[in-house]
Symmetry: C2
Subunit: 108 residues, 2 copies
């Protein structure tokens, strides 16, 4: 696996955010997509717990801080053009606020 | 698995785009994240081949139209708040333009 540095992340101009895909390490399921700013990524790397930036509440957000459904982060991957992250996690409880295991529970 | 309709997709105001996570059906690997407008999603559903909207080239884009590395779409899932899609695909060849199997080949 190649290495990337924080400087290679292209936080979107204007918003300062990148989308983050969160995948369950065990099941391989895609659990959710959220957004992170630099501070959220820093905290995620330092604490090994998934942090995001909530666009609706406009604040830093530790996943599970209220629900208890925290995500232990095993790996943070960066995509080829540095504008998307992948958190590989151990998920406690359901990832989705609806109580579903994953946010992707509907077929189009 | 619940059902969602096209009307439930929240194409982002202004851009008319939603992020799409693409996952390999066999390996479970997250291959890439790209963007789609309504036309790209329509075409994907009708042809069962992954279509996106290229933000850099500002045009509709059938994945693999130049490289041959097409994606046969088995499922299109919608997340809980309708603003992100998940294409579950059979990937031909590498998904990444770098020649890597997935765009997420670098660890932060």
């Amino acid at each position: 696996m190649n290495k990337a540095t924080m400087e290679e992340i292209d936080f979107a101009k204007g918003t300062g955010l990148v989308p983050v895909v969160t995948q369950d390490a065990k099941s391989g399921k895609v659990l959710m997509v959220a957004y992170a700013n630099k501070e959220a990524v820093d905290l995620t790397l330092r604490t090994k717990m998934a942090h995001y930036w909530s666009r609706s509440r406009n604040k830093l957000w530790k996943k599970g801080e209220e629900s208890g459904n925290v995500q232990k982060v095993l790996d943070v991957l960066v995509d080829c053009d540095g504008d998307t992250l992948l958190y590989v996690v151990d998920q406690s409880g359901p990832a989705c606020h609806t109580g579903n295991e994953t946010c992707f529970f509907r077929k189009l």
